[in-house]
């Protein structure tokens, strides 16, 4: 029986450092979690463009891979994978899929782990803003309060809510592949998110897709405020490094 850290294709391909950070945090709380090589894509990005037969075939393939590798539990750091594994795997496979899936933030917020975390920030009082990703807030078991609980527990860190938060948050605008298909004009919503940062010194995100969109829009528009992935933020706090450095 294996407990798998499911990194997700995007993070695993483009954000290696974040993956390493996430693995470090998860294993510090539960050393029985590990990563595996050659993990297949969960299929999340294909749901709206695949037909039911090919989608089912794919999730069956992935489920079979889980079985072969004796996976019984998953903690994923990808918002998209979490949403897809918990919603559509159940829809396509029913009882055939019986793996316990949690998101990184849920895992951290669990009483056992949360008490072990004990995060302290020794720098000057810092105001942060958290962006609710669609994948997390729309999931079958939505992840909305967990990141807030974690942020609020950190000494010297204050959460500054954006005007649009929780189920009312503004989508980064890149979902559905919109940014890659129709680049022009699709950055409008991301800019709105930055506009709402107000007193927050940093934009925290727990979704690698949103992160990709935000950093791109930030560069294109010379926006100064940093965007930091939740995993990187936590590790920086743990290691006493300035969390504002991207």
């Amino acid at each position: 029986m294996k407990k798998l850290i499911f990194l997700g294709c995007l993070s695993n391909s483009k954000y290696k450092k974040t993956c390493a950070n996430a693995i470090k945090i998860i294993q510090s709380l539960d050393p029985s979690f590990s990563v595996l090589e050659e993990v297949p894509c969960c299929g999340a990005l294909s749901y709206h463009i695949g037909n039911d037969t090919e989608l089912k075939e794919h999730v069956e393939f992935v489920n079979n891979w889980f079985k072969i590798n004796d996976v019984s539990e998953i903690v994923t750091i990808c918002a998209g994978c979490y949403n897809y594994l918990t919603k559509y795997y159940d829809q396509f496979l029913g009882n055939e899929f019986n793996i316990k899936v949690r998101h990184f933030l849920q895992f951290l917020a669990e009483p056992n782990n949360f008490s072990k975390l004990n995060l302290k920030y020794s720098g000057k009082k810092l105001k942060v803003s958290y962006h609710d990703a669609c994948h997390l807030r729309n999931a079958v078991v939505p992840i909305i309060e967990e990141p807030r609980q974690i942020i609020n527990s950190i000494e010297n860190i204050e959460l500054k809510e954006m005007e649009n938060n929780r189920t009312n948050s503004i989508c980064c605008g890149a979902g559905g592949g919109v940014y890659s298909i129709f680049k022009q004009g699709s950055d409008y919503n991301s800019k709105l998110v930055f506009d709402q940062l107000n007193r927050g010194k940093v934009l925290l995100t727990a979704c690698p897709f949103c992160y990709t969109a935000f950093t791109r829009i930030k560069e294109e528009n010379q926006i100064k405020k940093p965007v930091v992935k939740f995993e990187d933020f936590i590790i920086k706090i743990m290691e006493g490094v300035d969390p504002l450095i991207e």
Binding site: K14, L45, I49, N168, C171, G173, G175
Partner: protein, 433 residues
């Protein structure tokens, strides 16, 4: 992606490019729309008029409303039968049309020799093809809602927001247009423009209307009462100072009883942060019993009230559990458009001839198929489901659009980039390799 997929992709891309260029009509609308979306969604949490915010109002009523609509969809045929029965007893002339074509024929027969019709704002009339058939028969359509009057005045043909279709025209533009069309010089101020239409058009509405057309916000199945909310008074005038008032709407406008109808109208007002200064409850044609207790029809108000209830796609969607079956619950509040990611960014590019946003695209899909939906910007939907979170009857347009995207992909209409993603996922098991 096949040839028509490529063609549609290029059409949408060109439309976006046009909308990004300053000075174009699309750009003017887009800028207005971005502002409207920000203000409107901000108003959801404001407490400027009532004790509660509109979000609190919607949240408090969502469960009941969703249940009410689900119950209606489940027993649609029974509610329709009950509604028609009571309406006929109350001297409405009621027609049940199985298809849009049938509704159009009935409508033209009811219109008779009249060559002109005065109408209120109505998405249903567009959905049922009444506007098309009127145009085809050279019947003059006189819009009466000021927003639609302006749209007609400007001969504006791009999709616009159904609730305020002319709201993006500036005071200067309107004053100039009035000078150009009517030769009247006005101060470019909203008040002066309103005064102008009040002094000219109001008389016409009071004296000249023979046949009028409206939809309904809701119809109560229990007592056959039609409910129509408005703020200008145009509906009040054209439904009273007329010979014949024709109501055309889909059967999904029916609700179990009058309380549900009032709640729905109230919700439409609260969720859009607009006021219905007049709420019309119409339970039959004008009538008097003041001479010997004899009931005589046609006193001061409409002599006849004709109701054309249209099924078309509706029963089929419920029976066959079609991908848009959830859309049957829609109460037409149109509030899903403000928080929509695609709508905010792309304004009237993410739209159809039925109006802005996902629901207008779903209507286009129902009547004109998947190619029409792709042309309307189907692939601009990010799937964020903001529409669902805000919907007072819990319709997930995001999921409906996902199913539409699947159909588009099967027909070779999905943008190339997405197809490549899919290939990589299914073959390489990693789209980012």
């Amino acid at each position: 992606m096949n040839e028509s997929g490529e063609e549609l992709y290029n059409i949408v891309k060109e439309k976006i490019e046009t909308s990004q260029k300053e000075g174009t009509l699309e750009n003017q609308f887009g800028n207005f729309w971005k502002m409207a979306c920000t203000i409107k969604t901000r108003q959801h949490d404001m407490r400027y008029l009532y004790e509660d915010t509109s979000r609190e109002f919607v949240d408090r009523n969502r469960e009941n409303l969703t249940e009410m609509r689900e119950e209606f969809v489940k027993h649609m045929d029974l509610y329709v039968e009950k509604c028609i029965d009571i309406m006929r007893k109350k001297n409405f002339i009621v027609h049940y049309a199985k298809s849009n074509e049938e509704a159009q024929t009935i409508f033209m027969e009811e219109l008779g020799d009249s060559k002109i019709i005065y109408k209120s704002k109505s998405t249903e009339a567009k959905d049922i093809g009444i506007i098309d058939i009127l145009n085809k028969n050279n019947i003059k359509i006189k819009e009466t809602d000021l927003g639609d009057v302006l749209v007609q005045l400007f001969n504006y043909t791009l999709p616009s927001f159904q609730v305020g279709p002319g709201a993006h025209f500036t005071e200067e533009q309107i004053a100039n247009k009035i000078k150009e069309v009517y030769g009247v010089e006005l101060e470019p101020k909203a008040q002066a423009i309103v005064d102008y239409f009040r002094s000219t058009f109001r008389n016409e509405l009071l004296n000249n209307v023979k046949v009028s057309l409206t939809s309904a916000n809701a119809i109560s199945a229990e007592d056959g009462t039609i409910i129509l909310g408005e703020n200008e008074g145009n509906i009040s005038l054209i439904t009273r100072a007329t010979e014949k008032h024709i109501v055309v709407c889909g059967i999904t406008k029916i609700v179990p009883n009058i309380f549900d109808a009032v709640l729905m109208t109230q919700l439409q007002s609260r969720i859009n942060n607009v006021s219905f200064n007049y709420i019309n409850l119409i339970s039959g044609p004008s009538n008097t019993s003041d001479i010997q207790g004899m009931s005589i029809q046609g006193m001061y108000g409409a002599k006849e009230v004709v109701v054309i209830l249209v099924d078309d796609w509706r029963t089929k969607a419920a029976k066959e559990n079609l991908i848009y079956v959830d859309f049957l619950k829609c109460i037409g509040c149109k509030s899903c458009i403000f928080p929509c990611t695609a709508s905010r960014a792309f304004g009237n590019i993410y739209a159809s001839k039925y109006g802005l946003g996902a629901t207008a695209i779903i209507r286009d899909y129902i009547h004109n198929g998947i190619e029409a939906a792709v042309n309307d910007g189907l692939f601009l939907c990010t799937g964020c489901e903001n529409c669902y979170h805000w919907c007072p009857v819990s319709i997930n347009c995001g999921e409906i659009l996902k199913s539409m995207k699947k159909e588009a992909t099967e027909k070779g209409l999905a943008p190339l980039h997405l197809e490549q993603y899919k290939e990589k996922i299914f073959k390489d098991k990693n789209p980012f390799l």
